[in-house]
């Protein structure tokens, strides 16, 4: 029996500091063993437990896409013990990864539809995975229009800046990057994510919105999508709870009878409505 608690060794092969405050970094990890790499199958929206031996594990959304073979990427905010240790690591260090875990963005359901991706802050990570997946040449024709609204508090807090520029240059994706407040050098859009969504006003016709961000952003964005005619089945989000085991055993991440670690983290609003509001 494969032991789901034993991490697979991975080597940190690249570290990118994403933001001016330096407390968000993206770690590129390569599997030490080929068979582990082959066994680690995933889809956008899933997460993994990153393991720093001697410190512990943290659940982190997978920021890379399965269309990017050879490595995994995770964008991590420095928060407590494990994430701070991770931030101090250097390229070449070996850490561990367990996964993949959880469900994923519902790719089958998204197929054939227009997709509106809405992200705020560094919760953009698994949305990035989804976007990279959808615009890959093998997949692009499976989805309709792709509209992305992504916002951060300041220009310096936007992550994946190079990639944003590359997407900007494409004509098969409508990208709207916004900041709450710009600075001298910022030539882009200013305004909160919900406001921008209202302006962009994507049609709800055959469309699904996938949304991830701080709770307050989500709270103000939802009414905009209801006004646009999106049903609760077609608004999809991801939950965060404190986790340990990641496989529905340790008993701490449940919302009602669902375990966020294995039945989630992705839920539609319609599904969330059926659960208790304890998250």
């Amino acid at each position: 029996m494969l032991n789901p608690y034993i991490p697979m060794p991975v080597e940190v092969i690249k570290i990118v500091t994403e933001v001016d405050t330096k407390d968000i970094k993206t770690f590129r990890l390569a599997f030490v063993n080929r068979e582990d790499e082959a066994n680690f199958q995933y889809l956008p929206g899933q997460f993994a437990e990153l393991s720093i031996f001697g410190k512990g594990e943290v659940p982190i959304g997978i920021a890379s896409s399965p269309t990017q073979p050879g490595y995994l990427e995770f964008t991590v905010q420095k928060a407590g013990v494990v994430t701070s240790t991770l931030h101090d690591l250097e390229v070449g260090t070996h850490i561990g990864v367990r996964g993949s875990m959880g469900n994923s963005w519902p790719i089958d359901y998204l197929e054939g539809k227009n997709i509106v991706v809405v992200g705020g802050g560094f919760a953009f990570t698994t949305l990035r995975s989804l976007i990279v997946y959808m615009i890959h040449e093998d997949n692009r024709s499976r989805f309709g229009n792709i509209t992305v609204v992504y916002g951060a508090r300041t220009p310096g807090l936007l992550i994946y800046k190079d990639e944003l520029a590359a997407w900007e240059a494409r004509d098969d994706i409508n990208l709207h990057v916004t900041v709450d407040k710009g600075d001298e050098s910022w030539k882009g859009r200013e305004g909160f994510v919900p406001t921008v969504c209202k302006e962009v006003a994507p049609s709800s016709e055959n469309a699904v919105t996938v949304i991830c961000g701080p709770p307050i952003m989500i709270r103000f964005t939802l009414p905009v999508f209801f006004d646009l005619g999106f049903s609760k089945e077609n608004i999809i989000t991801s939950l965060e709870m404190r986790m340990k085991c990641g496989i529905g055993k340790c008993g701490r991440c449940n919302v009602g009878n669902k375990y966020v670690c294995k039945d989630g983290p992705v839920f539609s609003l319609a599904e969330l409505d059926k659960l208790t509001k304890e998250y």
């Binding site: 512990g56 561990g96 404190r242 008993g251």
Partner: protein
């Protein structure tokens, strides 16, 4: 299923023989408590006992357990799994409520896709020998309210029933039948024993004094997550966790690392939903901020969520949480009150 009749005075010798070939845990008197302990040379198992204070789930899901060891080697890490080989084991004298708890824990730890290899490895190597409660021992016993019975063999491989001068020995599973050889050439049970067992079972059920509407509250829990009732039950709760640590069906755990120099271990320890930190996130947000939400979680988990997910109440009616709660919070009373909402 093999059913045999065993003269009572022969049992001790049989257990002794079993313990030559495998590890045997049995109820033993330890100061003021009856505890399940390894049966060492010269220690006699208690044959007449009410129930152990500790729940025997600990043999499949230990209080603390090494999940993995590691050693730093240059830039790499060498990992090895836990504590190594699991030995062939027999648990002797498990009460039917506690044996049922194994069947309930199986549903969680041994799901189709999500398996717990540590639990399963021990379960596969362990023979559970139950002792029916011919006379339910405590006024707090309520197994019949949660689909159990004082003479049930659910979760057991072998079930012994005290029939006066003899035990009726039922070899319930193939794993149990493997132990037939230790019992020697016993007479098969006949109609007389069957009738007697039935009488004992009926009498034992009648002797259960505590009855609660545990099976009626599921539809009420389905609809009353926000009911003001939840404000009323938890106030004297100390958040000590005793109820969950003693409970044979509670399974929550924490995972943490301990390291010294280049060597380290990852361990898991029992944890409890009654603790404030259990769901506290690094951001400071806590989805269960007060004891109200934690008590509600405990009730919901046992009487609703487990039923939703596995079709069974996650309480076997052993009464431990009732007996040992330092402030006398009584889950039976709470279930009764919910039934009246």
């Amino acid at each position: 299923m093999e059913k045999r009749v065993l003269k009572k005075d022969k049992l001790a010798a049989i257990i002794k023989n079993v313990s030559r070939d495998m590890l045997v845990y049995a109820p033993v008197k330890e100061e003021d408590n009856v505890l399940f302990m390894a049966l060492k040379e010269g220690r006699e198992p208690l044959l007449n006992f009410s129930n152990s204070r500790n729940a025997p789930k600990t043999f499949f899901f230990p209080r603390t357990e090494i999940m993995m060891k590691y050693t730093r080697t240059g830039k790499g890490m060498e990992l090895s799994k836990g504590e190594g080989e699991v030995r062939e084991t027999a648990l002797f004298g498990v009460r039917p409520c506690d044996a049922r708890s194994f069947a309930l824990l199986d549903k969680l730890f041994d799901q189709d896709k999500y398996k717990d290899p540590y639990y399963i490895a021990r379960r596969e190597k362990t023979t559970v020998i139950s002792m029916a409660c011919a006379h339910p021992p405590y006024s707090t016993c309520f197994c019949t309210s949660v689909d159990g019975s004082p003479t049930s063999g659910e979760g057991a491989d072998i079930l012994l029933t005290d029939m006066g001068d003899n035990y009726l020995v039922e070899f319930i599973t193939p794993r149990g039948e493997k132990l037939l050889k230790y019992f020697g050439d016993l007479p098969k049970a006949g109609e007389a024993e069957e009738t007697l067992k039935k009488e004992i079972a009926e009498r034992a059920e009648k002797e259960i004094r505590s009855h609660i509407p545990a099976k009626d509250i599921k539809p009420i829990l389905d609809n009353n997550f926000e009911h003001p009732f939840w404000e009323t039950i938890h106030r004297k709760c100390l958040a000590c966790g005793t109820c969950t640590y003693l409970c044979p069906t509670c399974h929550c755990f924490d995972i943490s690392d301990e390291a010294k120099g280049n060597d380290g271990i990852r361990i898991r320890n029992w944890d409890s939903c009654m603790y404030p930190l259990f769901t506290l996130e690094t951001s400071g947000h806590n989805p269960r901020p007060t004891q109200k939400e934690r008590w509600r979680q405990r009730v919901m988990h046992k009487f609703k969520y487990y039923v939703d997910n596995f079709g069974a109440i996650s309480c076997v009616g052993c009464g431990r949480c009732v007996m040992y709660c330092p402030v006398n919070l009584d889950i039976r009373k709470i279930v009764e009150d919910i039934a009246k909402l």
